[in-house]
């Protein structure tokens, strides 16, 4: 597996506290990385920096082997990396319009957008919701719309910020299935969680964020295997 993006010497101070002090972090192709840490450890801040939504104090970004200045890296990251909030925001418009939002920014033809949206709706199993206003959906349905909206843009890296928080077991399993499908589609995933055991079955690498530092953890494959959710 080759490295897509490499963040070196990433530092971020928040309210005079050094929140992130990461020597190196790399995301490899088709990897699923779990990022664990207690609440307030800086997981969301790290993801927002990785998505180019927040500026670090310092960082060196190497994308596809090229080291880029921050503003250039930001532009590039935005076309490769998609960040999904803990509770994804859906625009006050129809499910179809939400899913098509990113495609419209890429100036595809109406026919192409329509075809891709239709595929995405099928993929997420939300075809029956396509004309509904996204604000009227349940938490699980919203999550599926958000995943479809992200997947349709074919990102290389998907940053998922505690995607199963406040979900019932059925919605959680559905989310796990979509993450697994995305992984099989070749998308690299960084999955923030404060309970690694709940996502162990999905992940290849486990990084723990403690006192601003990233510490690699060993995945107990045997226990992870037992947590695999049946596919499909």
């Amino acid at each position: 597996m080759s490295t897509i993006i490499h963040y070196n010497a990433l530092r971020k101070t928040v309210h005079d506290r050094l929140l992130l002090d990461i020597d190196t972090l790399e995301i490899q192709e088709q990897a699923c990385v779990a990022l664990s840490g207690r609440n307030g450890a800086g997981k969301s801040t790290l993801m927002r920096i990785m998505a180019g939504l927040e500026m670090p104090d310092s960082v060196t970004v190497t994308l596809d082997g090229k080291t880029l200045p921050w503003h250039r890296a930001c532009q590039k990251m935005r076309s490769h990396v998609i960040y999904l909030h803990q509770q994804p925001y859906l625009f006050d418009r129809s499910v179809t319009d939400n899913i098509a939002y990113g495609l419209r920014r890429r100036k595809l033809s109406i026919r192409e957008i329509s075809r891709k949206v239709s595929e995405a709706l099928d993929w997420a199993g939300i075809g029956h919701l396509q004309l509904r206003n996204a604000r009227e959906l349940s938490g699980g349905e919203r999550q599926r719309v958000a995943f479809a909206r992200a997947r349709i843009l074919s990102p290389r890296i998907l940053l998922l910020d505690e995607p199963t928080t406040n979900m019932d077991s059925e919605a959680r399993n559905q989310t796990y299935r979509m993450i697994r499908q995305l992984k099989e589609d070749g998308v690299s995933i960084l999955l923030a969680t404060h309970e690694f055991c709940t996502v162990a079955h999905l992940c290849d690498v486990h990084l723990s964020l403690e006192s601003g530092h990233l510490r690699p953890q060993v995945i107990d494959t045997a226990s992870a295997e037992r947590k695999i959710i049946p596919y499909g």
């Binding site: 925001y89 625009f91 006050d92």
Partner: protein, 233 residues
């Protein structure tokens, strides 16, 4: 002095008989105020957005300044515009005094702080995820801004209506910079002031009824849009 009941009856006759002089005044009022608010609102929304989303020195002072400027009396704004555009003023050569343009400039200055202060509150209350989601899905800043505008549209429409309400009924500024010229710069509030001093209550009451109807309509719309302006997650 004519009796109140006779004046009121006459005012209805003027309104519904299509009295040309009266309707020119009404048209002037709306023409000037609509143009003023349409020019002021987009700039005010951009300023409010920048104040809500950027961190820079003096930001808090700027917010406080716009809040304070909401209470500047219309007549003071009128005096300022008058001095600027009077023959000996810095922009006297433009010869804008006692024209619609001067009235529009005055009303823009009058509504701008209110539009900025109210829309700033709407932008500040907007969910940060709107901007971030737009950007992460590939929107450029202008598109992300338009998406944000769409998401808080009810709050902004309420702001727009409040701003329009402020200028359609103001008398001080229009009187000073418009000059209350019959058939040209005379608008509803200045006409009411003039007709009342002349004892011609019928036209004043008729115009007052138009303003009152407008105020009720604007307040109804304001309540409607403020109610719908609550953002869901």
């Amino acid at each position: 002095m004519e009796s109140l009941s006779a004046a009121t009856a006459e005012s209805f006759r003027l309104l519904f008989s299509g009295d040309a002089a009266l309707w020119v005044i009404i048209f002037t009022s709306f023409s000037v105020s609509v143009r003023a608010i349409l020019i002021a609102a987009p700039f005010a929304f951009v300023v409010a957005f920048l104040m809500a989303h950027l961190r820079y020195p003096g930001r808090r002072a700027m917010i406080a300044g716009f809040s304070a400027m909401q209470s500047i009396p219309a007549v003071v704004v009128g005096l300022t515009v008058y001095l600027v555009f009077s023959r000996s003023g810095p922009l006297g050569d433009l010869q804008l005094l006692f024209t619609h343009s001067a009235m529009i400039i005055g009303q823009i200055l009058l509504s701008f702080p209110l539009l900025v202060a109210l829309s700033h509150a709407a932008f500040q209350a907007a969910d940060r995820r709107v901007w971030e989601t737009s950007v992460t899905l590939g929107a450029k800043p202008v598109r992300a801004f338009l998406t944000l505008i769409h998401e808080i549209r009810f709050g902004l429409v309420a702001t727009f209506i409040a701003g329009f309400g402020r200028i359609i009924a103001e008398v001080g500024c229009s009187m000073m910079v418009g000059g209350n010229i019959l058939g040209y710069t005379r608008n509803i509030p200045t006409a009411i002031a003039l007709e009342t001093t002349r004892g011609a209550f019928a036209q004043a009451i008729a115009l007052g009824m138009v303003l009152l109807a407008m105020a009720l309509l604007l307040n109804g719309l304001l309540a409607f849009f403020q109610g719908r302006g609550v953002m869901s997650s």
